[in-house]
Every structure is written in C-alpha cells, then in structure tokens.
Symmetry: D4
Subunit: 253 residues, 8 copies
C-alpha cells in the first residue's frame, strides 16, 4: 500500500539483500497483533494519527485489560477506553494504570501528562446531556486538545448562550451537544466561523424517539459549517474535534 | 345537545304549543344543509365561533362554488377557501365574489371589510416558507385578527431575529413557521410569554423527510408554551392564533 | 435586548452617573445564577410570565434540592418540579418545603395558597392516561388556573362525553389527553370554541408505537383550533393551557 | 384437496371406470386457465364464494379485456374490475359489455341485474374520501349487498353523525372510511353492534404520511368490533362487508 | 339518541305525566355509573351486544375488583378481564368469583355456564403465538362462540395447514394469528370463504420491529376477505370473530 | 403432492391391493407428529434436506426437551437448538445428550461426529458480533459444513481484511456479519466470486436503530452476489450457507 | 493482492528481468480503464466470475454506448445493461449490437449464443411483478443459466402454486418475486431444499410503503434457506441465482 | 454583541461624541438589508468567514437576480447560488455576470479569479453521484480551496480505491459522497488521518428510501474522524470542507 516501502523492498530484492519470499512476507504482513478474540492495530497511530481506542461496551473487563496491556507493552500511552461502566473500570484498574471518569464512563489507561493545545468548545443545551458532553471533552483532552466547557446554554434561554459568544467565537472547533429539538447546533452554527460538530443525544421523551428528533434537526441545520455524528456519540465528536483543532496551517505542513 | 333549547321545546310541548312529533323532528333536525356531495354546517359559527371553512384541495371548482353560494345565501361573509389553486379560483370567481391570494392559495368568498383586532405575529425562518406563512396570516386576518409579518428571521442569523424582539414580545400569539430543523419555535418560545403555535413545513430536502425533521423538532421544543399543528398547516395555525388572540379577559366574559 | 434599559444606561453614562465599563458589564450581565451544574434563570418570570420549572427526570435529588433552595432564596414560590419519582421526592422534602403528588410525579416546592382563576378542562379518554392528565392539571393549578377534570370520557362511549358537553363548552382552554387512536382531540375540537391542547400518550400496545398513533392522529385532527404537544407531555400542555386561560382581553392590557 | 372428490375418483379407479393416469391427471389438474400472462381461477367462486376480481392497476386494457372475455365465456356475470382508469375502460368497453363508474374507477363486465340483500352502510368523514367510498360501495353492490351511503359525517361535526345513528344501527356491517386522523372508526364502533370494517385513506397532508396516521389510528381504535384493511382499499372493505352482510344464521346453514 | 324513547318522553310531558325538567334530566342522564376513577358503562350491552370488558393492563387489582363487583351487582355475568397478570388475578379472586387462564392472562369474573354456538377457528403459525391465540379464543368463548384451535400450522410446512383445510372451511370466521412474516393470513384467506380476522403478533426478532412486519404483511394480504386488528390484540380479534360468528341470517332478524 | 406416490397408490387401488379409503388416508396423512403444543415435522429432512431445527426462544426447557426426545426417538442426530439460554440448556441436558455453546446460545442434541465438507467463511467486522457469528458458524458445522472463522476484519482497518483475501477467495460461500454501518458485506462482495450471505446485527447504538442501519446498508450493497437475512439471524445465514456450500455440480446430480 | 503474481514479479526483479520501478508500476496498475466519467473494471470477470454490468438508470445513452463499446473492444460478450428505458435503448442500438427486452428494461450488448445450464426457477405472485421477474430471468440467462418461469402463482390461490411443486423442487435455485405481503417466499421456502432468493417488489398500494411490507415479510420468512435482495432488484436476484446455480460440486473444483 | 464595539460606542457617548439615541440606534441596527421578500445578511462574511450563499431552490429567477445584484452592489464577489436549474440560470445571467455549471446546478455570480489553496479530495462511489459531488467540489473551489476529484472509486471494486490511496492521504479534508450503502465513508475513514465529511445521496432504489440507507450507514461509520451532512447536501459538505481545509495552524492565528 505504501509505494515507497514497496520500492525499497523491491530494490533490496534486486540488490540481493532480501529474498523474494521474504519481501512477499514483509509486504503482506498485517501490521496488527492477533490475540485471539481481537486483532490489535498497532500501526493505527501512523495511519490515523491516534492510537487505537478501546470501545468498552461489548467487551469484558478481562478483554479490555488484555488489550490495554498489550498496547502499553507496545509503548502506547493515554489509551482511551469508552463506554466502560464503573464495575469494569474497577477490575481493569487492577491490571493496568487507569484514570477513570464515571460520568462519561471513560477511562484512560497508562495516563501521562501531555500538553493541551488549541481550543475546542463543548457546548450543551441542558444538564441532562452531561455524560455525552464529558465523553466528548475527555476524548479531545486525552488526544491533546485544550477544551472549554459551556454547559446548560440551551436556546430557550438565549441570553445564557449569548453571554458566552466570545468564548464560542474563540474556538477552533465547537462540539454542540443537544437532545430534544437539537436547535443548539443551528444557533451556534450561525454565531461562529469554525467547524461545528453536532452530537444529537437521546435525552428527552415521547416524539424524541431515542434521539431521532435531534438527529434530523441537526442534519437539517440551516447554518453552514455544521456536520453531525451518531446519536450520543460523544467519543466520535471529541475525536473529530481534536483532529480539526490540531490541524496545521496550509504552509506549515 | 343544547339543554336550554331542549327545555324550551319540552315546555312548548307541555303547553300544547307544539306536538311531540314536531318537537322530536325539531330536536333531531341536523343543523346542516345536505347538498348531495356535502353537508354544509351552517351552525358551526355558533358552536365554534367561526363559519365553516372550505378545504379546496379535494373539491372541484364547481363544488367549491356551490358550497360558497349556499353559505352566502345563508348570510355568511368572508368565507375562507384554502388550498385552492389559481385555475379553480378563476372559475369560482365567476360564480361568487372572491378575493384570491395566489401565494397562499387562499380565497375569501363574499369579502367584506371588518375591523382587525389584537396582534398575531407570523414569523418564519426563510423565504421558502412564504406560502405557509401567508396561509396562516390570511386565515387569521380573514377571521378578524391584526397580523404582523416577520419573515426570514431564521436562527442561523440570530441578529435578524433579535432585531425584532420587541415586535415578538408585543404579540398576543406568535405563529412560528419553519422547515428544515425547525429551531425557530424553540428560540421564539424562549423570548415571549404568549402562546406560540409552531408550524413545521416540508421545505428542505434529504433527511427533512417531508417535514418530519421540523415536526419532531418542534414537538421536542425545549421552550414551554409551544404547541404544534400539522406539517404545512398554515390554515390551522392561523385559525388557532385568531382564537387565542381574540380571547376575552377572565372577567370580561 | 431591552431598548429602554439600554437607553437608560446610555443616558446614565452620558450624564456621568455610570462608567462605560460598568454599563457594559451591566448590559451583558447574564440574568442567571451559575451554580456549577446548572445556570438558574431568575429572570424567566419576567420574560416568560412564570418562574423556571425544574425538570426532574435527569437530575439527582441533591441537584433538585439545590436548585429549588436557590430559587426559594431568590423569592420563588410554588416552584414546579416535574418527572420526580417518589424516592427523589422523599429526599427533596428533607431540604425544602414540598407538596408531592405521586400519580403525576409532580412536586411543588415552597407551596403557597394562591387564587385559581378562569377555567381549564382536562379531558381524557381512559383511566390509563391518569398520570399524564394529573401532570397537566397540577401544572395548570400550580401556575394559577382553576382546573376541571373530565376523565374517562373516551369516544367509544360517546354518551359519556356528551353528558359533559356543557362543562367542555364553559372552558377557556381544553387539554385533551388520549392514547391509542387519539380521537378525543378531534371530537372535543368539534364541540368547543376555545383552544384545544392535545396530548398524545404512550398508553396502548402494538401499533401504538410508543404514542406515535395518537400523535399522528392528533396532528391530523379534522377539527380546527387543535394543536399538539409532545407525547406524554402533560406538563407542556398544562403550562400552555394556563397561559391561554389567563390571557387578558384585547382592551385590558 | 377435496377429500370427497378424491374418494370418488379413487372408487372410480377401483371400479375400473377410470384409469389411474386419468385420475392423477384429474386430481392435479389445476382449476384455472392459463392464458399466458395470467392464470384465470375459474373455481374461485366455489372456494371463496365470489368470482375472481380483476385488479386493473397493473394491466393493459387488452389484458383486462382478454381476462374478462374468458371469464364471460366461462359463464361469469358481474365481473368486478377495480383501479381501472377511464382510458382503459373506454377500450375494454369495446371488447366486452361494461358498466363503468369513473369516480370509483370501478367497472363491472357483463353486468346483470341481481337482487341486493341485507344492509351495508358506507360512512365517510369527508367528501375527499369519495373515490374510496364508492369503490367500497360498488364492490359490495356488485357482489349482491344493499348499500346505504352516509358521506361527510366526520367527527368534527358530531351532530351530522348523530343525525344518522339510526341508519348506522340498522346496518349488518358498517364500512367506515376516513383519512386524516381516522377517528370515525372509533366513534362509529362505539355506536353500533355489528362488525365495522375501517378503511384508512391517504387523504390529508403533512403528518398524514400517505395514510399512515389514519391507519395507525384505526388499528388502535378504542372501540371493539373494528378491524382494518389496507390504506385506500375500498375494494377490500366492500368485499369483506358483503361477506359479512350475507352471512347466514347459525341454524340456517 | 333513541328516537322512540324521545317520543315516549315527549308524549309523557304532553300528557302531563312528566315535567319538562324531569324529561330533560332523563334524556341527558348518562347510562353509566361514575365510581370516581372510572365510569362504568352498564348500557353497553344494549348498544354493542356485549357487556363492558375490563382492560386490566393499566389498572390495579383493587380497581379491577371494584369495577367487576359493581358490574356483578348490576347483574353482569361472564365479565371478561384482559391483560391481567397472575398476581393481580390472585388478588381479584379474593373479591369476586373468577376463572383465570394464565397463558392468555385472561380472567372471567362471575363465570357461568352458557351454550357455545357457531364455529370460530383460531389458527396460528407457531407455538410462540400461544398467548395471543388463547386471548382470542377465550374472548370468543366467553362471549358465546364455539372455538376450534388450530395451532402450529405455519406456512413453512404447508402440509400441516393443508391437513386441516376441512376444519378451516367449516368455520364461520377464522382468526389467523401470526408473527414474523404473517403469511398465514394470506394463505388462509385464499382457502376459505368466511371472514378472516388477522392478528399480527410481536413474536420474532430483528426486522420484525415489534410486529410491524406481520402487520404490514397482513394489511397487504393478497387474499380478499381479510381484515386486521392491532398487533397482539387477541381480545379484539376474538371479540370481532364472536360478533361475526353470531350474526343472524338476513331473514332471521 | 408427489405425483409418483399418487400414481403408485392409484395403481394399488386399481389392482385391489389397497382400499380407496386406505389410499385416501395415506394421501392426506400428515407427515408430522402432534404432541399437543407442537407438531413435529419428521419428514422435513426429506423435503428440505435437513432435520427440523428447534427455535428455543419461545419455548420452556421442558418443551425443548420433549421435542428433542421425540426427534431422537425418531432417529434424528445433531438436532440444532437455537436461542437457548444457559439456564434452559442446563435443564435440557438432563433429559437428552446435549452439546452446548454458551456464546452462540446454540445447543446440539444427540451430537454425533460427522465429516465436515466444503468451505464456508464466516467473517465479521468486530468482536461484538461474536454471538451472531458463532450461531452462524455452529449452525453450518452442525449441518455438515467446514467453517473458517475470520473475526474482527472490519473495513475501518482494511489491511486486516486484505490480509485474509486468499481465505475469503477460497470459500464456497461467505457469511458476512456486521453491525453499525454493515459495510463489510459490500467490501467482501467485491472481493469474492461465491455467494455472500450478509447478516446485519443490532450491535451499535444511536442511529443504529436496532440493526436497521446495517440492514438497509446490506440490502443496498453495491456489490453483486450479496443477499441478506434478518437482523441477528446467525442461524438463518449458517443454514443457507450450508445449503449453498453443499451444492452438487450441475452434472453430479 | 495476488500473492503468486507478486512472487513472480519479485523473482523477475531478482533475476534482473524487470526493473524495480516497472514492478512497482505493474503491481499498483489498476486493472481498470479510466474513460473520464467512469472507470471500467475489465478484470472483474476474473475476480467475480462475470463481466461488469452496466447500471443504466443514472447514465445517458451516450455514456452507456461508450462503456459498452470499450468493453466490446476489450473482448466482452453478452454485456448486461439494466434499467435502460426504450428511448435510451434505441440510441444505444445505433452504436453497438444490442438485444433489448422492453418489459424488463434490460439490454444485452454484443449478444452471442451460449449454452444455458442448470435450472433456475423464477416464481412470482402476480402479473404485476412481471418487470422485476423478467429482469431476474434475463440476467440469469445472459449469465448462462437455464431459467423456468412460473408467474402468477400467488399464495391466495394455493392450488396454482401446488400444481407446480415438481418444477419448483427440480430447481437448483428459486427466485421468489412478490409484492404486497411477500408470502410467496415463505411458502416456496417450505417446499424446496435449494437456496431461495427473495425479491420484494414495490407493487401494491397503501401500507405497502414502496415495498417495505414485502421486504420485512421476506426478511422474517419463517422458512429456512431464504435470503433477500433489495426491493425491485431483479438484477441482483438473477445474478446471485446464476452464481448459485452454476456452483461446482465440492469434489469438482 | 461585540463587546469592543459596545465599549467604543459607550465611550463616544460619555465623551459627548455621540447622542445616546444614536448609540442605541447604532447598536441595534441590524447588519442586513431588507428587500421585502428577503433580508440580505451583508455582515455574514465577517461573522462566518464567507459571504451569504443563495439557496436557489425556493426562489424565482427574479428573486435570485435581485439578491445577487444587491450583494454585488455591496461589493461581494464569487457569490454562490445553489440548486438553480438551467432555466433560472439563463434568466439570472441576463441580470448579473454569472458562471453556471449545469451538472451541479451551481452558479457563481460576479465570478473572479482567486487563488485556490490547500487540498480537498472529493471522492465518490459511482458515476450517479456526480451532481452531488460537483456541488461539493464547486462550492469548495468557489470559497477558495483546491479540489481533487476521485470519482467512481466505490468499495465493490476496492482496487480502484486503493490505487488512489496516496491522493486520499495527501488531503487536508476528504468529502466522501456515496449513495446506496454508503460504505465509502467507513473505508475512506480508515485510510486517512484528516477529517472526513460524508455526504449520503439519494441515489439507489428500493430500500434506499431516499438516501436513508446511506445516511444511517454513514452515521454508524465504524471509522473515527467521520461526520455527516444532510442527504444530497453537496453544498454543505463543500462549505465545511473549505472551512477545515483553510484552517490556520494553532500558532499561526
């Protein structure tokens, strides 16, 4: 897949420094480690700019601990573990160093201090979206972004939002989290000139239909510059916000 | 159904002023006129405070003209005809006096000047909702309400809306018309202390799903005091807004 | 946002009675109190005509108690707390004076006697909608409206409904609560000439789909003057009904 | 499939009156005629109590005419053709004797006078449902039922419906046709003690969603004795109503 | 509502046998008993041909017992109570004579022997639909119909169904209960010439979507003579089947 | 149904070797055993090429054990029992010989060694789909297919999938199991030239809507040769994959 | 991707028969031809066992002709073009040799006689599904399968289907095409022991919802061995059926 | 809203350089121009970093021309007009200088050369998505981004996509456009480390349901760094991609 590596290997073969078989083996060697129930993707950091994240929901504490251990053994730091409930966290903690945030159900294995740069604002419409907000904020922080939290600035009390316009406008990326009618994304989108990542939440009842109302609302946001991630997907929003926040300038690369 | 009328008739029977048969006939005589393809409800004005409205969509020009004629003959003025396209209007105009507004596809048969009272604000998020807005505004005006139009004040350019806060706050009822994400209803709902009637429109594309996004959004509006009518139902909103606008005070009745 | 206040402040600056910085501070001072996990909106009563309501579903008893305490400290009475289960209520009761209605899961913190005015009718189709009905009724009563309860008057036994026509027709606003097919809204809408607020409930099974059948039914109500709030949203209906019920006459304002 | 016929054939074989091959041929001879693009089911009258009906929507005029001709040749009378537009009807008419009703888009090939018995009431909520109503009524009449039409008796003007209670209560089966919120089915279901066949129609707009609102409403009808056919399926309702109307008494069979 | 009663009362008034006030009171006296949390409809038997049925799902055991007691006091026998779980049944049993069937969650208060007439077939596609089937069967039996049960005759093993064609064809009404793809309704509908009441069930998983697949399938049944009740609504099907089964002949009435 | 058997029986009758009654009895004798709550279809192996499978979800342990016992008594081996939780399995195990796999919730009653032939690949996108994968794999193995498991080869790490292209391309049938966006089916479909059976799973959250996202995705797969079974239906996929895998060549039959 | 080719190229490099650059170029040379608006995949036949198919719906006649010409130039025969309306076909015909079937909207460019092998049965429930059926049948035939057409064998007239059981049971793969309730898939699935590919069609009206009813029905088919393709996707079904039909035996490969 | 401007104005008032009334007027002067049917937002460039875009779908050619003229008069260049069909474009062209691209239905009024910077890749799965792709590409170009087009690289022919991995990996933002199953977003998301903006399209048929399948698929994309805009919203994707592409580095600002 990497043309340069391919050429290098081919030159080595031509120069007799490598047998064709070795080259073939090298080329199709998968850059992941197979530990039976999972294939750990150690090269993801190279390809995607961040180490693999452990999605905790469908895994046992033992599985999480095993994967984290291998990643730490392979040199990973600040390994994000999402959707991990407190019981699992307590067990994982016995196996690997772990910092755990119960509200967001997020853990960070092998946590290390690292500088936080840029500016991501996580804004939310109400206190009920807290878990999703914190998942987004902690994800972005773990990946290296500085995060400003603006919670409970829903559009029904517009003055609360307007009181924070300056903070919003100073962001390099805004994560707008809202349930119910999800209007926050449109209103924020109209106030800032950076990318807005909207996260619909399943907070609400009745015709909320598990987050559908906020999802459709955000997809139809009349403001430009807004895009949407899955319902309750705080992790995805924080991950993307970090990616946007940490972009280099065009000339910098 | 009307206890007083019942007592009156019964007294007349007792006093020999009316035969039982006549009374029975009187009592179950339907207060409507059957003209074959429709039953015109002449008494609706008494029961519901407004004369029957003609829903033009499923009717031929000839049917509309016939119903309007009978109603005019029965003394009705300012008879509202909704969802009537220009072709039908041109034909109806030949049969009865008609004022027709093409944008809203609304006609008023036997139009008469009448005083407009109170204050209904019809606010909309964009120019594409014009037809629904005008259906609402003309309905309320035909029924006797003064209407202020605030169009193109969508939430993505919040300053446009905020520039009109005073007008919004002076309303006795606001009709908030919006397609796409329908956030206008929530934002307006947070700014005023009168009832807000939200009208989702089918304007938009993609995940708008024929107005579903705005509908769900408005039903989930985080502001209190907001209720919703059917998608694109400008008539229903204008009708209800007029009813609210013209309410008497508690002591006045 | 308030032009008069703005002018007053500007005049004070011009007259040297206030520094520009103080004025700027005054103007953008948010009329809410930030208590960490929430921003309490003390000015809402001024803007919206009712004090902020505490939505209890997503909050801990401690959070509810904290918010209520601050509001009481700021002078609020009859503070409505919705969707609060009995366990939370028992805890909140220890912190603030509380009247609690278990069926509706509604609490009133710092309850005070106040006169009830006007006339709101809450009508329902069956006994299973009781919780939603009572949420609506208690909300309207807490906000100052007199409420008449007409429960179990579903359309399948029309005579039960017709026996109460007079009560219905004496209302200034009717809240029509119904699950299943939600026909009550249409039938009531055809009998009265005041605004009807329809509340679909999730009562039913099968193709009820969590209240969708009643919701769609009510949005499509063939009677005019009917608008709809979210599924099971008794609070929203009671809040709006109170707003409508307490409207002043056009000349009274 | 018919045990008696099977025994008879087997006896004939045993008695030498029929060869086994002939018997086998007889037994698996399909009771239909294959005319290439269709297999005409001549025996349906025996099995189902009515001759096969031609669903005109997906067929050319030539195909309809061909099927009808064969059926007439096989002795069928009063052959119902549904969903046939006027253009096709004009062409079919040239090939076979045809009575055509444009409103219902229903034709009857080889029409013969026949006695109409019993009493089916077709009731509808508005004039816009006329096509569906007439499809139901003409179907039932073609199959031999006497039909009473009660159109425009929607629930928003309850007195119109109540004026016809006696007619409703005299029915052996009521077909309740309604679009929008479909409340008619529930209300009628509460007034009569015969089976009610509800037909949701796609009449309406917005959150009607092509008849979904009326469909769900009718499925959730709170009155007992109500069942539902497909949206706009006037034919299905008329067919079933005829079947119910013409039932014999338990002892009569 | 009853013209004869009206005439009789009016004659009594005319003849001085009744005061007008008494007549008015008589006429609008609701034929139900208000016991606070419910209005018992004692006249339903007259109007609808069956005594009121108690829907147990949303009621406490005490409420069920209270309603049943009043109905028994008013002379009702064989009072059907649906959706009552065993715990409630055990409590109700202490208050009133009760026969309870746990599979169907159906109780019969004040049970009396009565003759079962006619012939209703309840057919189902699998053993998992048993609860719904039994609700239908017990409902029909309680209301006086003889019921034949044909369970586990799903279309995937057509020979099982075909082995019972004779029983199916002897029915006066078939209740076809099926989950998953609901094909049973179409297949049965093609085999019989009596009305078929189809009951979709929520049995299944995945794209069954809580019974939606069977519901849509049955509404679209290609066989004529089929109508549909709500998902899992065994009671509704049994009630309607009994009504159809017990129809008198046209001449008999 | 079987013409040959019919002819044979008819010949026997003609030749006096069988009475007509016996023949009729023979012909309509259902090839199943009625054990009250179920009708066991012993002939299914002849018709469908595999013995009847016991769907454990809606049955008690006692019922499962009873059916399995009868089938074993009738000579069945390797009887598949799906959707059986560990508690039931423990009970069934006491009645019949059973091999149970907890992850897949699959049991095999009366398990016997048998040769595994051909090559079915079960591929999945993540570790969370394990239960569905194993249901598919064990089903295919129990029915006689050799199965290769390729788990955790989701499309977001394409190299993991590409490392196994050879294994994929050696399959006679691939079962592609994926939740979330279900892209695996399309990607695999583009890489192989054997039939691909896609199984959407309900793994995911938010706009996954219980598997709907993967289902729609797979139905719309842009690669040819892909078909889809129900959400989470590992059994159905394994059953079909076995059928395809074990096909004979055209000349072989 | 092809390990053998990789090794061969690497050996050539080692042996000095190829420069490394040439090898790299060779290896990542895409096996497709870029003609601007499309990339023609000439190697698909090798990978997928059939030449690329031209999906005509979104392309102009000129684009279709251009792609077909290049493919013919590259040696392709019997190139399938789907969803091409007659107007486009008339134009394409001028550019390349074309056989066109209007009912199925299918064209075959550069048509050549080729032997048809095996046995695919295409069965349908009604005449309205003809276009989809023929798309399936012509696709399978163009790709080399012998096809038996069994049209109009819907489940409402079961005898029509049963008359063809032998033909069904002789198939190596059945394509079951049905709209409305889609029951055909389940019934056919219960009768045969070969794979069944179900195609839901959008034929129907009302609660058919564009094919949704048949789609859900087929996904929930209670018979095993059934899988489903997209609504109206006759091509996909025919393509897959051909792939299954032409499978070699396990030993044959 | 701008604290600095506020302070400046207040200082001017204090210093007697401005009357309080003038200041108030200045402060609430809306930064838009009201031309009757629309309010043009001239300040949007300041707030949002791009001049207002004209959404052409709901506007007449005359309205579009009028808005564009005013904007040009106010100094705007390269004014984007989306969803404008060729007929309207021809008329608009007469009023203002216009460059029009028919495939994308995009116009640029008052077009000027400007440098294109950075690197946005627009990738699509098939040729049928061309219109949406071009809307995205032209939007990004008009706003100043260099765009690389990679069309027809769908996942069913993975080698076509893999041949362009280098181009994908060189992007600062990828717009992934796909209909049908939308798998492109996941696959691309797994290959790059820049933000991916996914655009579901309504291309497809059957269970595509107007783009729903691709929408849900993309929302559930298993790759991180992917967010989604509305169905067919090429403009929104291009707008956001430009915003991301043109981000400055953290130190640069």
């Amino acid at each position: 897949m990497d043309r340069e590596a391919l050429l290098r290997a081919l030159n080595a073969v031509r120069d007799g420094e490598m047998t064709p078989e070795a080259a073939a083996g090298l080329l199709d060697r998968a850059p992941f480690e197979d530990i039976g129930f999972a294939k750990i993707d150690h090269h993801r950091q190279l390809r995607n700019g961040a180490s693999e994240v452990i999605y905790g929901a469908g895994k046992t504490a033992a599985q999480i601990a095993a994967i984290a251990s291998r990643m730490i053994a392979a040199g990973s730091e600040n390994i994000l573990i999402t959707r991990m409930d407190p019981e699992k966290a307590a067990q994982v903690e016995k196996a690997v160093p772990l910092r755990y945030e119960a509200v967001a159900r997020v853990g960070v294995a092998n946590p290390k201090e690292h500088p936080l740069v840029g500016r991501v604002v996580v804004a939310s419409g109400g206190t009920s979206d807290l878990a999703v907000c914190e998942e987004a904020a902690l994800t972005a922080e773990t990946l290296g972004s500085r995060v400003i939290r603006l919670y409970d600035v829903g559009v029904a009390g517009l003055h609360r939002l307007l009181a924070h316009v300056e903070e919003l406008q100073s962001a390099r990326c805004v994560v707008a989290v809202a349930g119910m009618e999800g209007a926050l994304a449109s209103v924020v989108g109209g106030l800032v000139d950076c990318p807005v990542v909207a996260v619909p939440t399943s907070v609400g009842y009745g015709a909320n239909f598990g987050g559908l109302s906020a999802l459709l609302s955000m997809l139809n946001a009349c403001a430009s510059g807004v895009s949407v991630v899955n319902i309750d997907n705080g992790f995805g929003a924080g991950y993307l916000a970090n990616r946007i926040n940490r972009m280099k300038g065009i000339g910098e690369n």
